[in-house]
C-alpha cells in the first residue's frame, strides 16, 4: 500500500498530499483532481491499452 500511496499521493509537497482528506473547497478539489490525473508518474502506471501517452 505504501507503494500505491507514493504514486497516488505524489511527491512531498504535492497538493493532493498536502491538502486534507476532506472538506476541500471547489478550487482545491478540482486542482487536486487535475494534478492527480495529469501527473506523469501516475499515468506511467497505466495499462498499455489505455494509452496514457495519447
Amino acid at each position: 500500500m505504501l507503494a500505491f500511496e507514493k504514486v497516488v499521493l505524489g511527491p512531498e509537497g504535492s497538493l493532493r498530499r498536502t491538502l486534507p482528506h476532506a472538506g476541500l473547497s471547489l478550487e482545491q478539489q478540482v486542482d487536486c483532481l487535475v494534478e492527480q490525473a495529469t501527473d506523469p508518474c501516475v499515468l506511467g502506471w497505466s495499462f498499455a491499452g489505455w494509452k496514457p501517452w495519447y
Partner: protein
C-alpha cells in the same frame, strides 16, 4: 457488470445462436445440475427448446441464420439433453459427460458458422440482411399491421425516461426497419439498425449482444439527473456545461439497444483522421509511424508489469517506488512515449472542420466545456476504462461525449489487474488542445462550476443512487468472494461507523430526528461505540453490523457493506473529498492490496489524519463521514 436477475436469458442472443446456447443455456444448466436442481435444469432446456429451436408455427419470428442453426443443431442438442431435457441428470459422472458432449457441439457449431458466415464464406453477404436475424422485423410494416394502433405497433426504444409519467399515445412508433443493416467490426460484431419512424425521421440503434446494458442505462439516468441540476444552475447553463446522453434499452441481461449518435466519431478515430487528412503523403506516413512507435515505446514497459499478473504488478510497483528518484521512472517512460507522438491532433482535426478562426475558437471552447462537465460527472460516478474509443466527438460542434459505462463506481481502480490510479482521463492530447490557454482557464473554472452545482444538490443525487444498494451489481458479489477476511471485516466495520456518524448528525440538536429519537439514540449508540472501537479485526464489529441493521435475508452483509461503500465513495467526492485519498480508499479493496497486506500483517490499516481545517468549516462542507471519522469513532 451483470446486475441481479432472475429472468431466464435463453431468448437473448439473437445474432449469435451458438453463444446464446453456450453462455446463456448450457452454463445455466450446468449450474443448476451442480446445485442439485435437476427439475429446473430440465425446465430450462425445455423452455429454450420451445423458444429457440422449435417455436410453434405462427409465432416464429426467427431469421434464416437462427432457423438454419436450429435445424442443424437442434436434433444434436436433443440427443445430448433429451427432448424436454429428460436426459439431464445430477451427479459428477453425468456432468462431465455432458460438459464433454456439449463442448464438442459448441466447437462444431462455431466451426460451421465460421465456414459459412465469416468473410469469404458462402453466406457472408447474408450477414448484412435483416432477414437473416429476424423475419419478424424484416416483415414488420406499421401500415400493414392487422390491427394498426399502439398495441400491435412497435415503439421507438428509449422513450421511457423515468422523469415523468409515460404518455404512450404520444410516443414515436416504428414504421419499418431498413434493410440491409450494418455489421460493425468490433469484437462482438454489433449490428446497426435503421428505424423509419412515425415522425418522419430515421433513427439508428446499435444491437449489442453479450453485454448487460442495465448499468449503462442507470448511468445515463444519473447523468440525465445531473443535467437537470446543471441546467438549473445559472453559471453552468450559461457555459453549456452538460453531458449529452443517449437512449439505452436493455432487452435482457445479455442483449440491448443503444441509440446511435449520428454525426459523431470516436476521439481515437478523429485523431487518426486528423493525421490522415494531411496533404503531404510522406508526412502522413511518418506521423502514423510515430504514433505506432509511441505506442510500442510505452507498451514495451507497460507489458512488463501488466502481463505477469497482479502479484508481479505489485512487486514492480514496490521496487520502483523505493526512492523518490525511482518514483520518477514511471513519469519518464510516459514522457518518452509522449514525445514520439504527433502533437495537438485534436486541434488539427477541429481546424479542418472549422470555417474560420472564430469557428475554431467556439468549437474549442465547446470541447473544453463539454469535457469539463464530463470529467466531473465521470469522476463522481467513478467511471473507468476511459480509453479513446470511449470518448466521442461531434466534429460539427466540437462537443465531447462519453460512451460505454460498463465500469462504474471505482470498478477500474479496485478490480482491474492493472488498477487505474488517475481518477479521470485528462491526457496530453486533450489538454494540449486548449493551448495557448492552459487548463486553469478553460477547464478548471468550468469543472468548478459543474462540481459546485452538483455538490449543492448532493442529497438528491445520492438518493437516486440508493438503487445500487437495494440492488447491487453482480460483479460486486464476485469481487467480494476474492477479498481477504480482513478486507471484508474492514468494510463491515466502516459501515457500522458510518451508520453511527449519520445517526449522530441526524440527532444533533436541530437535526431532523433529534427530539423523538433522543432516548433510543443514547441507549443504542453505547453498544455500537463499544464494538466499533474494539480494534481487533472484527468479529464483534461485523456482528454488531448485523445486529444494528439486519440486512435483508437473501443478501450477505459483506455485499451490503460493499454496496454502501461504493455509494460512500460518491458521497465523499460530492462533499469535498481529496481525489487521491478516494483513489487510495478504493485500492484498499483491490486484490493487489490484499496481497501486499498479507505480507505485512502487522501494518494497521492507514488511518486518515485529522483534517487540518478548522472543525467548524469542515462540518459545513463535509458530512461527518469524512470529518475526523476515526477520532469520532474512538471517543
Amino acid at each position: 457488470m451483470a446486475l441481479h436477475s432472475t429472468t431466464p436469458t435463453w431468448r437473448s442472443t439473437p445474432t449469435h445462436p451458438t453463444r446464446g446456447w453456450a453462455q446463456d443455456v448450457r452454463d445455466e444448466i450446468v449450474k443448476l445440475l451442480k446445485e442439485g436442481r435437476g427439475n429446473e435444469a430440465r425446465a430450462c432446456y425445455a423452455a429454450y427448446r420451445a423458444a429457440a429451436l422449435y417455436p410453434k408455427a405462427g409465432t416464429d419470428g426467427r431469421g434464416k441464420l437462427l432457423q438454419g442453426w436450429a435445424n442443424t443443431w437442434g436434433p444434436k442438442l436433443d440427443e445430448v439433453c433429451g427432448t424436454e431435457g429428460v436426459k439431464l441428470k445430477q451427479g459428477a459422472a453425468y456432468l462431465s459427460a455432458f460438459s464433454k458432449a456439449s463442448g464438442k457441439l459448441v466447437q462444431d457449431a462455431r466451426d460451421e458458422h465460421d465456414r459459412r458466415w465469416r468473410r469469404g464464406g458462402r453466406e457472408h453477404n447474408e450477414m448484412r440482411k435483416l432477414s437473416s436475424y429476424s423475419s419478424y422485423l424484416h416483415k414488420y410494416d406499421n401500415r400493414l399491421l392487422p390491427n394498426p394502433g399502439p398495441l400491435s405497433a412497435l415503439e421507438l426504444p428509449g422513450q421511457y425516461t423515468g422523469h415523468a409519467a409515460p404518455q404512450p399515445e404520444c410516443h414515436v412508433m416504428l414504421e419499418c426497419v431498413a434493410d440491409p443493416l450494418v455489421v460493425l467490426e468490433s469484437m462482438r460484431l454489433p449490428k446497426r439498425l435503421t428505424f423509419h419512424c412515425s415522425d418522419q425521421t430515421e433513427r439508428r440503434f446499435l444491437v449489442k449482444g453479450g453485454e448487460d446494458l442495465r448499468l449503462d442505462q442507470r448511468v445515463q439516468q444519473l447523468m440525465a439527473a445531473m443535467n437537470a441540476t446543471l441546467d438549473a444552475s445559472a453559471p453552468c447553463a450559461a457555459r453549456g456545461l452538460r453531458m449529452r446522453t443517449y437512449a439505452v434499452a436493455p432487452l435482457s441481461t445479455s442483449v440491448g439497444l443503444l441509440e446511435w449518435m449520428d454525426g459523431t466519431e470516436t476521439l481515437k478515430g478523429f485523431m487518426q483522421g486528423a493525421v490522415e487528412r494531411g496533404s503531404d503523403v510522406r508526412q502522413v506516413k511518418d506521423e502514423l509511424n510515430q504514433i505506432g512507435k509511441a505506442n510500442s515505446k510505452y507498451m514495451e514497459y507497460a507489458n512488463k508489469f501488466a502481463d505477469r499478473g497482479v502479484k508481479a504488478f505489485s512487486q514492480s510497483m514496490i521496487a520502483e517506488t523505493a526512492t523518490p528518484a525511482k518514483r520518477e521512472l514511471a513519469g519518464r517512460r510516459l514522457e518518452a512515449a509522449q514525445a514520439l507522438a504527433p502533437k495537438n491532433l485534436l486541434g488539427r482535426g477541429i481546424l479542418a472542420h472549422a470555417t474560420g478562426a472564430e469557428g475554431f475558437l467556439s468549437m474549442r471552447s465547446a470541447f473544453a466545456s463539454s469535457l469539463a462537465a464530463l470529467t466531473i460527472a465521470q469522476y463522481l460516478l467513478g467511471i473507468g476504462d476511459r480509453h479513446l474509443d470511449n470518448f466521442m466527438i461531434e466534429p460539427a460542434t466540437g462537443r465531447a461525449i462519453a460512451i460505454d459505462f460498463g465500469m462504474a463506481f471505482g470498478h477500474a481502480t479496485y478490480m482491474l489487474p492493472v488498477p487505474e490510479l488517475m481518477a479521470v482521463r485528462l491526457t496530453a492530447q486533450m489538454t494540449s488542445f486548449l493551448q495557448p490557454l492552459d487548463t486553469a482557464v478553460l477547464l478548471k473554472a468550468a469543472m468548478q462550476h459543474t462540481l459546485g452545482a452538483l455538490r449543492a444538490r448532493r442529497d438528491d443525487l445520492l438518493r437516486l443512487m440508493e438503487v445500487f444498494v437495494a440492488e447491487p451489481l453482480l460483479d460486486w458479489e464476485a469481487h467480494i468472494a476474492k477479498l481477504t477476511e480482513q478486507q471484508k471485516a474492514t468494510i463491515e466495520q466502516e459501515e457500522v461507523e458510518q451508520r453511527l456518524l449519520l445517526d449522530e448528525e441526524r440527532l444533533r440538536p436541530g437535526g431532523d430526528g433529534y427530539e423523538t429519537a433522543k432516548s433510543s439514540f443514547e441507549a443504542g449508540v453505547g453498544d455500537q461505540l463499544a464494538s466499533a472501537s474494539g480494534l481487533s479485526p472484527s468479529a464483534s464489529a461485523s456482528a454488531s453490523a448485523r445486529a444494528s441493521a439486519p440486512p435483508p435475508p437473501q443478501q450477505p452483509s459483506s455485499l451490503r457493506s460493499f454496496a454502501q461503500k461504493r455509494m460512500r465513495g460518491v458521497r465523499e467526492k460530492l462533499s469535498g473529498g481529496n481525489s487521491a485519498r478516494v483513489t487510495l480508499d478504493e485500492l484498499r479493496l483491490h486484490t493487489v492490496y490484499a496481497d501486499v497486506s498479507r505480507r505485512h500483517p502487522l501494518t494497521p490499516p492507514p488511518t486518515p489524519p485529522v483534517s487540518t481545517a478548522p472543525r467548524s468549516t469542515v462540518r459545513c462542507l463535509a458530512p461527518p463521514a469524512l470529518a475526523g471519522r476515526r477520532t469520532d469513532a474512538r471517543l
